[in-house]
């Protein structure tokens, strides 16, 4: 916990604690922890000498910020107008169905996948677009093609797990 706050303090100091940099500070902090834990928000408020309500208010206003942890793979289905009319909704449904997300859930219980929609990525020429972890862009997707991409990740993860467990096995033997 101590170390966690150390990094936080560094980020705040790099912005000279300027209140107008609050959004940028939260962005950097979220980059670090993948979400904004409550105690972190309180810490930022105290360090910047503003009320926790101010920090909480900003953190909950912007869609980029998340107060709950997200999965290892964040799948963002673009639901801008162009993607919508080319069928982004079936893709979103198929993903949720396939990953077993029900009700208001957006993250799988094993913390592997988060599925969310985003209003427009500005890549309308590739509609419908799905982005996995902001660097893997899939254009002109179909429910079928995106499930294939997800299954690829799943099997890669499983292989990784097997490899890990066999590696641990090795260590134990040694």
């Amino acid at each position: 916990m101590e170390r966690k706050f150390e990094r936080l303090q560094e980020i705040i100091e790099s912005h000279q604690g300027e209140v107008s940099h609050l959004i940028a500070i939260l962005q950097e902090v979220q980059e670090e922890y993948r979400y904004l834990p409550e105690e972190v928000l309180t810490y930022i408020a105290t360090a910047m000498k503003v009320s926790p309500a101010t920090v909480y208010g900003v953190a909950t206003f912007y869609t980029q910020f998340s107060l709950i942890p997200k999965g290892k793979y964040v799948i963002r289905v673009c639901d801008g107008t162009a993607c919508h009319v080319r069928g982004s909704e079936p893709i979103h449904f198929a993903l949720r169905e396939n990953l077993g997300l029900v009700g208001g859930e957006s993250t799988t219980p094993d913390m592997q996948f988060t599925v969310e929609t985003v209003s427009c990525l500005g890549a309308c020429g590739l509609a419908p677009v799905v982005v996995i972890n902001s660097d893997e862009v899939h254009g002109q997707t179909t429910p079928e093609s995106i499930l294939r991409a997800v299954n690829k990740i799943v099997s890669r993860e499983q292989q990784g797990e097997n490899k890990n467990s066999s590696e641990t096995g090795c260590c134990q033997n040694a």
């Binding site: 107008t81 009319v85 893709i91």
Partner: protein
């Protein structure tokens, strides 16, 4: 470091000589769309091939008796023709290769670059004759365009300030600083009739005049790059493809109104634009084009970049200011207008990216040149983002007043998959729908306003007959309801109730009274909301109600969705007389809802079916039907 106008001219000359001495210049598009399609790999391969062939450079050198490297490869900004990407442009001829894959690179290199023979299989093919078209300017998509804001996009390397300077970059700033007074700059922009390209359409010169006359030592220029309108991506394209033009536009504004500091507010969803802008600000600083006493004049200017964090309402001027100040991005009542009291209470000009990108050309060529383009009250050009069910998706910049028909059919190539034109949604969540009867309507601020739509940011989503207008209205209302900041009641509550009504109608449980209530509520939200978001939010509902009322009525009276979109009114069935039992639908169904044995008719389990339509698109026999 450039210390005078003369030094800028020397650098321009040097950069131009360098470009013209180049026998071939390879420009690989590195816009968001092309990068997603793998253009960076294509670029790397070109670079590798260049590096592997030093002997080639020598032989060419001997031939032309030149000592400089004669072939160069660069990344460029977005060409706007994203669907055909990755795009590779080869200068000086302006040959455009489409959908270039890594495995095509060596062929282009050997054939075109070395032997000077065009690789026709990678050229764009005419829609009708299917014959290849070699140069970019001859392609119908580009032929009817007039590019001012997008002039350099795809033609220069956005990370290279010298490339920008070679293409008249920073010339208009030099002209303003050394030949014009700030008042003359304001007057030139006023005379040009330039209106805000972000949606409002307010005359830019008038805005500047307010800020110029406003009292205060400190003034700010803000570039609004918070392009939140789903379906519009022209600002992204300019910021990614020609970032120095945006900075030059801001400096012209700064000089005109007496501001020495500017902010560029960019959406966080545009990481590449943020990166290119940061590089541009840094290199401009190193060249002395930003900072103290620019080009030895008395004018100083500094640019900061602020990343948004995902809030559509921040496109609204006062909300954007609140966001830069580090607060929740909620709008404030106007007046006072930002031009009088804006960022930290100082007079502030907020101009949209495309507006700013027009300024260098206006100052350089004069207002008379600009007013010759477009219509009397809407001068110049406008960039539209063509998307949806259209053959050629992309960015098009055309003179104001061009008809919808020209844009959709001549430039956009008509609808894709032979669909029949139904409507165009223009201006995003603030805009409205245009129908067949508007195909010959000139597109300019005033004509669009008359029919209940607006230019907005220029998003233009084309819809075919299989699009349900109730669903479209519901989609936009869902967007607005989600993005409403919650400050004023009409927008916060009104949008929620309107969405509930639309959901009810789309699910088949709506009544005729609901239609009347929806219309009444829409007018209240329009009149009573605090900011532009709420005031324009009902437009999609009002225009679809106006032009497609019968479709709404079919939902409430007959409980039918004529376009076959609204799920609750649909059932997917397999027609046993048509089904051959190939099993393809069963294989592709993401919900495992289809069962059956090979060569016998299959069936869909309505309980499991998520109505995604995957099976319909795969069935070769047309046996899957909806009602």
């Amino acid at each position: 470091m450039l210390n005078s106008r003369a030094e800028l001219d020397v650098l321009k000359k040097k950069a131009l000589t360098e470009i013209s001495s180049m026998q071939k210049r390879i420009l690989v598009c590195a816009g968001t769309g092309c990068v997603a399609n793998g253009s960076l790999k294509v670029f790397d391969l070109f670079k590798q091939l260049l590096a592997q062939r030093p002997e080639l450079a020598v032989s060419i050198e001997l031939e032309k008796e030149h000592s400089q490297q004669e072939i160069s490869a660069h990344t460029s900004g977005c060409h706007g023709f994203c669907q055909m990407g990755p795009l590779v442009r080869i200068e000086p001829r302006g040959t455009l290769y489409c959908k270039v894959k890594p495995e095509d690179v060596s062929e282009i290199f050997e054939e075109h670059i070395i032997n000077g023979r065009v690789v026709s299989r990678l050229l764009y093919q005419d829609d009708h004759t299917h014959s290849p078209i070699e140069t970019q300017d001859e392609i119908p998509f580009y032929k009817n365009q007039l590019r001012i804001a997008l002039a350099n996009c795809g033609r220069i390397d956005p990370d290279d300030i010298e490339d920008y300077i070679a293409h008249d970059g920073y010339q208009s700033l030099a002209k303003a600083l050394f030949e014009m007074t700030p008042d003359e700059v304001v007057k030139e922009v006023l005379d040009s009739g330039l209106r805000g390209r972000g949606g409002g359409g307010f005359p830019t010169g008038r805005k500047w005049l307010f800020a110029r006359e406003a009292a205060g030592e400190k003034k700010y220029i803000i570039c609004n790059g918070d392009e939140g309108d789903p379906g519009a991506f022209m600002d992204r394209s300019v910021m990614e493809g020609d970032p120095h033009r945006v900075i030059e536009g801001m400096m012209l504004a700064g000089y005109a109104v007496g501001a020495d500091e500017g902010y560029i507010y960019v959406r966080a969803e545009y990481p590449l634009a943020v990166k290119r802008l940061r590089t541009a600000v840094e290199t401009a600083g190193k060249h002395g084009m930003l900072g103290e006493k620019i080009l030895g004049s008395g004018f100083s200017f500094k640019v900061n970049i602020k990343e948004g964090a995902g809030a559509f309402v921040c496109g609204e001027e006062t909300a954007l200011i609140a966001s830069i100040e580090g607060e929740r991005g909620m709008p404030r009542p106007r007046p006072p207008f930002p031009a009088v009291s804006g960022l930290w209470g100082c007079p502030t000009i907020i101009n949209n990216v495309e507006t700013l990108a027009n300024l260098p050309a206006i100052i350089l060529n004069g207002s008379g040149w600009f007013t010759n383009i477009g219509t009397l009250t809407s001068t110049g050009t406008k960039t539209f983002a063509l998307a949806g069910q259209i053959a050629h998706t992309g960015l098009v910049e055309v003179p104001m007043g061009l008809t919808l028909r020209k844009i959709v059919f001549d430039i956009g190539g008509g609808l894709r998959d032979n669909k029949i034109f139904k409507a165009v949604q223009i201006g995003g969540p603030s805009g409205g729908c245009l129908t067949k009867e508007h195909l010959d309507l000139p597109l300019d601020y005033d004509s669009l306003q008359k029919v209940g739509a607006m230019v907005g940011s220029g998003g233009m989503v084309v819809m075919g007959e299989d699009t349900c207008m109730v669903e479209v209205a519901k989609f936009f209302m869902g967007f607005v309801q989600n993005e409403s900041c919650g400050k004023c009641v009409p927008c916060r509550e009104g949008s929620r109730r309107m969405l509930e009504l639309l959901t009810r109608i789309a699910s088949g449980s709506g009544t005729e009274e609901d239609l009347l209530l929806l219309e009444e509520l829409a007018l209240i939200v329009k009149d009573g909301s605090l900011c532009g978001l709420g005031k324009t939010a009902p437009n999609p509902v009002l225009t679809t109600l106006r032009y497609f009322r019968s479709e709404y009525e079919a939902h409430v009276r007959d409980k039918k969705c004529p376009a076959g979109v609204c799920k609750d009114l649909l059932d997917y069935r397999i027609d046993p007389s048509l089904c051959r039992g190939c099993g393809l639908c069963k294989k592709v169904c993401p919900a495992d809802a289809i069962s059956g044995v090979k060569k016998e008719p299959h069936r869909i389990d309505p309980e499991k079916c998520i109505k995604c339509g995957t099976c319909i698109s795969k069935c070769k026999f047309g046996s899957i039907v909806t009602n």
